[in-house]
């Protein structure tokens, strides 16, 4: 018995030119088509051209990258801490926990201050979103979201609404009402729709627009009233974890950080990425603009925080220590930009001298990882939220100038935390 394999000659209409010819199978984007021999050859040469174009584009990209690095290197004539050498050192800092806000039944994931400098909105893993009066620790509003892991929450500039979202892939806006008869959840408005979890949200200068960041790798700008998508921002290669809007004086830009280790600065009107920075070695969990708007800080799972200067277009400082091995989840600046507060997954908060690059204080007080941290709008206090279910507003008690205090800021201070829980 003999086994013979032979090519079955199909005769029919070519899928490309439709002429009646002898056809052969051809694969285009994993779809099988039947082309005549002429069209099959044309397709083969087209593929060849595409490869040439791809190769030339790749080499152009490489040479542009090389040029950019050269130009940037020329501008890097000095380090930030060198410029700050003659600046007076900060002394030891003692910070007191002034309040502990207890009430979340589960991990606190996000918080935001109201512009009135006393109210705080916070969200947690169990779906609860609570608005607190941080002076009295009273809970003023509470709503339960239909989803768990509410990873993002924000206070509207007017103080009359809050926005939140998480695993529901949406960002919803709740108007705040003091009418006891009104059900807050009934007035909920769904504004943003993403195709993956919502990681961050922020109102722009008004209650009318919201900026969102999502696990789907994009950021988007939405009109609150109509729910319409105004602009989308594509460019991150992975989940976007955080965003921050530039201080209003510096114009319409915002910065975002993601799991692709990149921090990107965007033009809100055009949707274009104007600058990108890729020096972190792991996910960027938090980004925050420097108060002047000329720089921004980032906190990452690589256990470092970094400062990027937007005008020099490069990283100008790294805040790290060999002893710090856990990721930084959240960062914020003090009012003058001199201090950088960073919450870490090892339950601590490190306070860095932005100019000198050294750590000035380490705060203990949480019993689980610090997930969120924000300085109040007037700079008198900062609040940290943690997986230990609490929020702790703290403010500074005493600053000891370098000459009075013999303790070097570099040595780990043994500060006993005074927790005034009400």
């Amino acid at each position: 018995m003999c086994d013979q394999t032979f090519l079955a000659n199909v005769f029919g209409s070519c899928d490309k030119c439709f002429k009646q010819r002898a056809l052969r199978p051809v694969f285009k984007k994993s779809q099988q088509l039947s082309y005549c021999s002429t069209c099959a050859e044309i397709m083969a040469t087209e593929a060849l051209h595409e490869n040439e174009t791809l190769a030339s584009l790749k080499s152009e990209a490489e040479s542009l990258k090389g040029k950019l690095e050269e130009e940037r290197a020329k501008l890097h004539d000095v380090e930030l801490h060198q410029v700050a050498e003659r600046v007076e050192a900060l002394g030891q800092f003692v910070m007191k926990t002034r309040r502990t806000l207890k009430g979340h039944g589960n991990k606190v994931l996000c918080m935001d201050w109201c512009k009135d400098k006393r109210r705080i909105v916070s969200s947690s893993q169990d779906g609860k979103v609570i608005v607190w009066d941080s002076f009295t620790t009273n809970k003023e509003h509470a709503v339960t979201m239909p989803c768990t892991w509410v990873m993002a929450c924000a206070y509207a500039p007017s103080g009359c609404a809050i926005a939140c979202g998480g695993l529901d892939n949406k960002c919803s806006v709740y108007p705040l009402t003091f009418d006891k008869n009104e059900n807050m959840a009934a007035k909920k408005k769904s504004v943003a729709m993403h195709t993956n979890y919502l990681s961050a949200c922020s109102f722009t200068n008004s209650d009318m627009q919201i900026l969102t960041a999502s696990g789907d790798g994009t950021c988007a700008l939405w009109d609150v009233e109509s729910g319409q998508l105004l602009q989308s921002f594509h460019g991150h290669g992975a989940d976007v974890l955080c965003l921050d809007l530039a201080p209003s004086e510096t114009g319409n830009t915002f910065v975002s950080g993601g799991c692709d280790k990149k921090a990107m600065v965007w033009d809100m009107r055009s949707g274009q990425c104007v600058q990108a920075f890729e020096t972190h070695e792991s996910d960027i969990n938090s980004v925050r603009y420097y108060p002047s708007g000329d720089a921004f800080a980032s906190g990452s799972d690589d256990a470092t925080c970094r400062l990027y200067d937007l005008r020099a277009d490069r990283e100008v400082a790294i805040y790290s220590k060999e002893s710090i091995i856990f990721g930084a989840s959240s960062v914020d600046f003090s009012l003058s930009g001199r201090l950088l507060f960073a919450g870490y997954n090892d339950y601590t908060i490190n306070v860095w001298d932005v100019l000198k690059g050294s750590r000035v204080s380490i705060l203990f007080g949480h019993e689980n990882r610090v997930s969120t941290l924000r300085v109040s709008p007037d700079g008198t206090a900062f609040c940290s939220g943690s997986w230990d279910h609490t929020l702790r507003p703290q403010e500074e008690l005493v600053a000891w100038r370098g000459s009075e205090c013999p303790i070097n800021a570099g040595i780990l201070p043994q500060i006993r935390q005074l927790r005034i829980s009400l």
Binding site: R118, Y290, G337
Partner: protein, 64 residues
């Protein structure tokens, strides 16, 4: 097989790089000096840096 889409993607990368190359950048010595200046100018107004006095501190312990 997906040649056209990777060509399009590469074109975007090249465009982005050209955009970044066109930025007017400033030397670090200048920008760092500006950052330092901003810090020093605003240091007195920074309550977390200077320490808010007890009387103006809205978070002072409440008298029970």
């Amino acid at each position: 097989m997906s040649g056209s889409s990777s060509v399009a993607a590469m074109k975007k990368v090249v465009q982005q790089l050209q955009l970044e190359a066109g930025l007017n950048c400033v030397k670090v010595s200048q920008t760092a000096a500006d950052l330092k200046q901003f810090c020093l100018q605003n240091a007195q107004h920074d309550p977390l840096l200077t320490g808010a006095s007890s009387s103006t501190n809205p978070f002072r312990p409440q008298k029970v």
